[in-house]
């Protein structure tokens, strides 16, 4: 075979210890764990920026016209830029980097028992491109005109023509930042899929792979299949903005609906791209802290595949009132309602996993449980929006906003906290403080509901999105409604303040946390076999070999209530 016979120069560099400077070890590393941390910390930094923007515009909505502390007066165009960039940052620079890139990079090689990704230099390149994209986006806030203000959905002609959006530099920079970010994730996705498929430990069959790895792999496939049209649309929009082409200009033979057609083709699978890793993380945590096998591993896997397939058939439900053929609404309503079935199957499987389990209420578990509850609310409110009839009224109101925050917040924020509280011991070799973790949890969750529950009512009462001051609309300016807005804003401030204990806990535990052993949570998956934190090469005691599935808790043949995948023993058939 040619590949074994040919001399390979490139992979001798890990057969001996090599001197590593600070730069080669932490900045230009090809080690998947370091790259995972790079994504994690960049994502957290961007989350602070995105959260700050939310604080500013919510203060404007609650106290219109007043100067916002730490910002100043919010002009209408500043408001537009804030909401646009809040949305864009949270989706592309927080949810995706943390859930997919950080967790995927850190966990996948460890969980499948391998020493690194199969394309480590491509991995490093992907982070560098991602960092560049973040820099470009942040730079766009400081150019004349400020950051792009055409909403994260960037519909033309608002997004195409500077005479409408007043951000002649911000708009193209925004597009370029998004395009770079997409390229970074394509490179990352290639790595995840190829590594998971080709580099597994000996004995790890398809159904022995931890579910979170499957979820990230399937999410990467969904992303790669759906993002092409967005890039195509973005290129055309960029040309409309900069070269004066008229792809989306109806007066010159273009079609603005074409942008929506391409954008939402990506936009809908995108929500499943972020959902799946979060569900995977929650599953891992729930199994460990219920001391119970995942209920219906194959059921969940096939439901996820079904979800992925269906997600390509539902996207026009974002366009019910934009003038598309209403007969198309028949199809898209039906498929949208159908797609709730696989998600419901998965949620029920998770609940069944908990049933009869021996539940340990660690902070990670609390967040995982709250994911189920909050996402459930988000999911069911989507039914009204997916049905074209009710959507005609609810489209573009705060009902939509509350719906997607009740789904996105569990995914991006609760999912992130679940993952951090669970894998922090592995990442840094120390335990986080549980008491402060619980304080953080309750403060975050209660405040989160305080922000978005009122927004359902406001939306149903007719409050439309993307308006900087509701005092200009007599129907929406009543005291009742304004009180709800103030309540939501105060809840947001409280929630942001409750993140301070988390940050302090994170930083202080790095040095003062109790030292974690290899497997503080007594879990089964392979990452807990490696030392905490894992060294370069991951498994200094030799590559693990796998003998069973990842969730063998409370097995009758064992004294311990857990059975790590790599421990030989009675060769019982694995995960059935």
């Amino acid at each position: 075979m040619a590949e074994v016979a040919t001399a390979d120069v490139s992979h001798d560099d890990h057969h001996h210890e090599h001197e590593q400077t600070f730069w080669s070890k932490y900045v230009f590393s090809t080690d998947h764990k370091i790259i995972g941390f790079q994504y994690l910390f960049t994502g957290i930094a961007m989350a602070i920026i995105g959260g700050y923007f939310a604080y500013v515009f919510r203060m404007q909505l609650a106290f219109p016209g007043s100067s916002v502390p730490f910002f100043g007066i919010v002009s209408p165009s500043a408001y537009n830029s804030l909401v646009t960039n809040h949305g864009t940052i949270m989706i592309f620079w927080v949810a995706m980097p943390v859930l997919i890139a950080a967790m995927g990079n850190f966990l996948i090689p460890l969980m499948i028992g391998c020493d690194d990704m199969v394309f480590p230099r491509v991995n490093r390149l992907s982070y560098q491109i991602f960092l560049l994209s973040a820099i470009v986006l942040i730079a766009s806030f400081f150019v004349p005109g400020g950051g792009f203000g055409g909403a994260w959905t960037a519909y033309p002609p608002l997004s195409a023509l500077a005479k409408y959006n007043a951000t002649p530099f911000g708009a193209p920079m925004w597009l370029i930042a998004v395009a770079l970010e997409i390229v970074a994730f394509l490179l990352g996705g290639i790595n995840f899929i190829t590594t998971a498929m080709n580099a597994r430990a000996k004995g790890m069959r398809m159904y022995d792979i931890p579910i979170v790895v499957w979820m990230i792999v399937i999410a990467s496939m969904l992303f790669m299949a759906s993002v092409g049209p967005l890039v195509a649309g973005a290129v055309m929009l960029l040309f409309d903005q900069t070269l004066g082409t008229t792809f989306f200009d109806a007066s010159a033979g273009g079609d603005p609906v074409l942008w929506q057609h391409l954008f939402w083709f990506f936009g809908h699978p995108e929500v499943y791209v972020v959902l799946l890793p979060a569900m995977g993380i929650v599953a891992e945590v729930m199994c460990t802290f219920a001391r119970k096998k995942l209920f219906g591993y194959k059921l969940i896997l096939y439901a996820t595949v079904g979800l992925g397939i269906l997600s390509f058939f539902v996207w026009a439900h974002h366009q019910f009132i934009s003038g598309v053929d209403p007969r198309a609404a028949y199809l898209f309503t039906t498929t949208t309602l159908l797609i709730s079935i696989p998600v419901a199957i998965m949620l029920f499987a998770y609940i069944a996993t908990l049933y009869g389990g021996s539940i340990q209420f660690t902070t990670a578990m609390l967040f995982a449980l709250s994911f189920l509850a909050e996402f459930l609310i988000g999911g069911v409110t989507g039914i009204w929006l997916g049905s074209s009839g009710t959507d005609i009224y609810l489209h573009d109101t705060y009902f939509v906003l509350a719906h997607f925050h009740y789904t996105f917040f569990p995914i991006a924020i609760i999912g992130t906290f679940t993952a951090i509280y669970y894998w922090y011991p592995k990442m840094f070799g120390r335990m986080m403080n549980e008491t402060w973790g619980k304080i953080h949890f309750w403060g975050t969750i209660i405040a989160f509901n305080g922000i978005f529950l009122p927004l359902f009512f406001l939306g149903a009462a007719g409050q439309h999105r993307r308006i900087y001051n509701y005092q200009n609309f007599p129907d929406l300016a009543g005291d009742n409604m304004q009180d709800l807005r103030v309540f939501a804003t105060i809840s947001l401030v409280i929630m942001l303040l409750f993140q301070i204990p988390f940050v302090i806990n994170f930083i202080v535990s790095l040095k003062r946390g109790k030292k974690a052993g290899k497997n503080p949570w007594k879990a089964n998956t392979l990452e807990w076999v490696a030392p905490s934190p894992p060294p370069h090469g991951n498994f200094p005691d030799g590559m693990p070999e796998v003998y069973r599935g990842p969730y063998e808790f409370a097995h009758p043949d064992r004294e311990d209530d857990y059975w790590p995948q790599n421990e030989p023993g009675n060769q019982k058939p694995a995960n059935k």
Binding site: T6, H11, I193, N198, V231, F239, D255
Partner: protein, 198 residues
């Protein structure tokens, strides 16, 4: 790295070779994404074309159908030479024949891009630009994107050639590079028919 290559059997590695080698699988995934990208460009093209109605619009220069047909032949031949280069590689990985066939592939690719570029300059001088009409905009957008990919593929082939000369080109790397070239070549007839012939 040693382990993640998954091409060693022995202590700790997979019991058997993965069905599709790493580089090849990675390239297949990349090409799938690119195909979706081009499918979207074509979709946009079809939608706008049917919106505008009269196609090509009056007053716009006609595209050089015949010259491009001949040029297409060069591009398609480059795929043939690359196929034979692969066969030669299997027999004698770094022999002169393999090198020559790979070189010829590169030359044909460069010829294709050069002729396209020449035709473009002519079209621009006749007044077909990105802003002159939707016809012009889509022509440059779609054919230009393909040209960019062709240039990238030529750079890729150059890299493969360098590795081959240094006698360290693995089969899976070569296969991955070939796949990208076949993608660029295979996509071209579709674009030609849609953009030049309708």
């Amino acid at each position: 790295m040693r382990y993640a290559e998954a091409s060693y059997s022995g202590e700790g590695a997979l019991e058997r070779q993965p069905p599709i080698a790493n580089s090849v699988l990675g390239m297949i995934l990349f090409i799938m994404t690119e195909l979706m990208f081009f499918a979207a460009l074509i979709s946009a093209f079809l939608i706008i074309k049917s919106t505008v109605g009269v196609w090509p619009p009056e007053g716009q220069p006609r595209l050089p159908v015949l010259v491009t047909a001949i040029n297409s032949f060069f591009l398609l031949s480059s795929a043939v030479t690359l196929f034979f280069a692969n066969r030669s590689y299997r027999q004698d990985a770094y022999g002169e024949k393999t090198l020559k066939l790979l070189r010829n592939t590169m030359y044909l690719g460069i010829l294709f891009v050069a002729i396209q570029g020449f035709e473009w300059i002519r079209l621009l001088s006749y007044g077909l630009t990105m802003t002159s009409s939707q016809y012009g905009a889509f022509f440059y957008l779609i054919i230009g994107t393909h040209a960019l990919h062709a240039v990238g593929a030529i750079v890729g082939l150059t890299w493969l050639y360098k590795l081959m000369k240094e006698r360290r080109l693995k089969q899976q790397t070569f296969s991955a590079g070939q796949l990208f070239w076949y993608f660029v070549v295979g996509l071209w007839p579709i674009l030609y028919v849609l953009v030049y012939l309708t």
